[in-house]
């Protein structure tokens, strides 16, 4: 419940902070923090225009996409406080409900019959497919480590924060858990960048259809639908931010927890902005390689977990 609310609040600011970071890094003043949200609200108040070549698939796709993210949010916990629902294997539910949303956005793009959107859809499908093993190896490793299979149980038994409590012993295992959490953060940040079609995989600011991935898929969407899709991106960012925050929240007292949550979201947005400012995006053909790196980092976590739990050697 609390995570749902906090994710909603941070989704309002996330893109604003990201864009502001980029503006400041390039020496511009940049728009206000709320500008992306204002644009979305403006779009939401508009009607949508539909091409005559599209069918009902194209019309329901943005709504299904948005709904899938909302459904995925239900299982995201807040430290030791569970989300709306929590059950064994809910991270599988999380991944595939998002995949369903993606599936609809892909067939929605194909529905327009445009060669650009077909290209974008095929790229999006390919890159999402490559990102999937990274997420599952990561979450699988953590369930192996903790012996649980739901987000809530995994996060509440990691106990990363409690080591800071006075009198707590710092063992080798603790250090290793921190290393794991940092690696997991890296993987999650990069999955979030891939899934949200940001740099270095995709360039959200380009006007060049031939190089786009996600942007080209939504070329035909307008008004309310476009607003919904744009807001879903903010929401997804905040959702991945919440997952990252969860590694460090543990059983922290609520006021500190909330503060830490927003700090993590803020740092996430700023680092995403900095990545986009100081490097060029990848060549399209190098993207699969890059996304595979995420899987290999996840594998690293997996082997570390095997070592930790004594299943290896």
């Amino acid at each position: 419940m609390i995570s749902f609310l906090l994710i909603f609040i941070s989704s309002l600011f996330f893109m604003g902070i990201l864009i502001r970071t980029k503006s400041l890094a390039s020496g511009r003043k940049g728009p206000g923090i709320m500008q992306p949200m204002r644009d979305i609200i403006r779009l939401l108040r508009k009607g949508a225009v539909y091409s005559r070549t599209t069918s009902y698939i194209f019309q329901i796709a943005p709504t299904v996409y948005f709904a899938s993210v909302l459904a995925a949010l239900l299982v995201v916990p807040f430290g030791s406080r569970s989300g709306f629902i929590s059950f064994n294997g809910d991270f599988v539910f999380f991944a595939y409900v998002l995949a369903m949303g993606k599936f609809f956005s892909i067939i929605g793009a194909l529905d327009t019959g445009s060669s650009f959107e077909g290209m974008g859809a095929s790229r999006e499908a390919l890159f999402s497919m490559f990102a999937e093993p990274a997420f599952f190896i990561l979450m699988g490793s953590f369930s192996l480590l903790t012996g649980f299979t739901s987000f809530h149980d995994i996060f509440s038994s990691l106990h990363l924060a409690s080591h800071f409590a006075p009198g707590a012993e710092l063992t080798r295992e603790t250090y290793l858990s921190y290393v794991l959490a940092v690696l997991a953060t890296f993987v999650l940040v990069m999955i979030a960048m891939t899934e949200n079609s940001r740099m270095p995989v995709d360039d959200p600011n380009t006007h060049l259809e031939l190089t786009m991935i996600h942007e080209v898929m939504i070329l035909d969407n307008s008004g309310f639908d476009l607003g919904l899709i744009l807001y879903t991106t903010s929401l997804k960012f905040a959702m991945y931010g919440a997952l990252i925050a969860n590694f460090f929240l543990d059983g922290m007292a609520l006021p500190f927890g909330i503060m830490l949550f927003f700090v993590v979201q803020f740092l996430f947005a700023v680092s995403a902005g900095l990545i986009e400012s100081f490097m060029a995006r990848f060549r399209m053909g190098h993207n699969p390689q890059f996304i595979f790196i995420l899987s290999s980092v996840s594998l690293l976590i997996f082997f570390a977990v095997l070592l930790l739990t004594g299943k290896f050697v």
């Binding site: 020496g27 031939l210 060029a280 995006r281 990848f282």
Partner: protein, 499 residues
């Protein structure tokens, strides 16, 4: 003699151009030039001549710094053997001649429309029924881009034949921007109208084209520009090169989503292009170059201002170039992307920086210098790889070279000269050719006057004319998502091609 040798900007009597039998004309211009690297065609065009068609071919000889001009007279509707069969650099020229005059070349491999002019020979040739190269395959797919561009640039239609993400073939259909500039040069009788036309041939090369026009016009009128006038024109040309190259670097960074480079080069371009505003009241230097005179003579005050502008520009530019050329993610995008081999460049007759990026040394400033360039002893910057990175590096180095040249020349700024008051008229029945190395490459203007001294033929060749084909070759076997960066690295003009 089967041809006349003239210098750049030299006016000769129209009758001095030898008229050859077509077979001999073909032999000396196409067959004999095909293997020689120092010879390339700068302009090949036709005009009506007593109910017949006269073909005029201008071949530039880089070693002797001369231009060979020869001509041939053929009948309308005559079926001719094409130059292209022997020398592919004539491909575009012959397409244009065929489109305008209805000459049917029997062995031209690619006789397609160029720009659908209003007075073309076959009125049924329209933009709608362009004969695209087609493939019939289940596995390949076509992607059409344009003519309405997603950005703010001009219209052109690109049709890709792709195997998945890989481009197998690109066909570029242009002609949407055709305004009949060459015809307008004949219709507009006032000199001011003509120079305004020259300014607007290509929006991003006003200095290049106006210098080509004034050189030509002054030569036709037998006017020798004072050293100061030539100095001003040299300055404007090199400054335009700095300005546009910097803007291009910014655009290349934008296309690979390198925000730092994009905004820093963008910021650096502004004071450079604004310098023209200070000098001539227009950021693109419109109104700066005028025949016989200048309305905005370069003075010591402007000199100081220029030094000040560059003093601020240069350190930042060097730092940003250094950062950009050492950043792995940038290099990964630019290197080995859009390669054009030297062989291809020569076969297509490419000019300018796109040719120099592939190892061709072609540079009018060196081979056919005029004015200040004659004393400059210019050494062209040449890269060998022919990829996007080479074209980026050439821009960086040419900027620094141009700054050096201007700096060197500012020390010996010639004294102010008075604008002349007497009127000059073009010589009757004359032919003149003018070559200028604009920032994009070789600009060629040719003019023929009638017996009253009025323009009878005006022919323009912009560097984009041939280089568009090089772009189509560059993207082959590249990823389709790399097309925009290849395109940007050439930065060709649509209206320069379409005229």
């Amino acid at each position: 003699m089967n041809c006349t040798n003239i210098k750049n900007n030299q006016t000769i009597d129209h009758a001095e151009i030898p008229i050859l039998v077509y077979d001999e004309f073909l032999q000396i211009n196409a067959v004999e030039t095909s293997d020689l690297q120092n010879l390339h065609c700068v302009n090949y065009f036709a005009h009506y001549f007593n109910d017949k068609i006269k073909l005029i071919c201008c071949i530039a000889d880089d070693d002797s710094h001369t231009i060979r001009v020869s001509s041939s007279v053929v009948d309308k509707n005559q079926r001719l053997s094409s130059f292209t069969k022997h020398n592919t650099t004539f491909e575009k020229f012959e397409r244009e001649i065929s489109e305008n005059f209805g000459i049917k070349y029997v062995d031209h491999p690619w006789l397609k429309p160029v720009r659908y002019p209003e007075n073309q020979f076959d009125k049924k040739n329209t933009v709608e029924n362009y004969p695209f190269f087609e493939i019939h395959s289940e596995e390949l797919h076509e992607v059409g881009v344009g003519p309405i561009h997603a950005g703010i640039i001009e219209p052109g239609h690109f049709r890709f034949i792709c195997n998945g993400e890989q481009i197998l073939h690109l066909e570029i259909q242009l002609g949407y921007q055709h305004r009949g500039i060459e015809e307008l040069f004949l219709k507009k009788k006032k000199l001011l109208q003509k120079i305004l036309l020259a300014e607007n041939i290509v929006g991003d090369t006003p200095v290049g084209h106006t210098v080509a026009f004034v050189n030509l016009w002054e030569s036709l009128c037998g006017f020798d520009a004072s050293l100061k006038l030539q100095f001003d024109r040299f300055l404007a040309l090199e400054h335009e090169r700095i300005a546009i190259h910097t803007g291009d670097l910014s655009a290349i960074c934008t296309d690979i989503a390198y925000q730092l480079g994009s905004s820093v080069f963008g910021r650096l371009r502004t004071p450079i292009i604004n310098y023209f505003q200070i000098w001539a009241g227009n950021r693109f230097a419109k109104g700066l170059i005028r025949p016989f005179k200048t309305n905005f003579s370069f003075n010591t005050e402007l000199l100081e201002k220029w030094k000040e502008t560059i003093a601020k520009y240069e350190p930042d530019f060097r730092e940003m170039s250094q950062t950009m050329s050492t950043l792995p993610s940038v290099l990964a995008r630019l290197e080995k992307t859009g390669i054009v081999s030297e062989e291809t460049v020569r076969a297509l007759g490419c000019v300018g920086l796109s040719a120099r990026a592939s190892g061709s040394e072609r540079d009018i400033r060196k081979t056919h210098p005029f004015g200040i360039y004659e004393t400059l002893n210019h050494q062209p910057i040449v890269k060998r790889h022919g990829d996007v990175y080479s074209r980026t590096q050439i821009r960086k180095e040419e900027i620094l070279q141009s700054i050096d040249y201007i700096r060197k020349m500012l020390d010996e700024m010639p004294a102010e000269s008075k604008n002349i008051t007497e009127k000059y008229q073009p010589a009757p029945s004359s032919f003149t050719i003018s070559l200028v190395e604009g920032w994009r490459g070789e600009i060629c203007h040719c003019a023929i006057t009638d017996e009253n001294g009025e323009l009878a033929v005006y022919k323009i060749k912009d560097p984009s004319f041939h280089n568009w084909t090089a772009l189509a070759m560059a993207v082959r076997n590249n990823e389709i998502s790399d097309f925009p960066i290849c395109n940007k690295s050439f930065n060709l003009s649509y209206c320069g091609h379409d005229l």
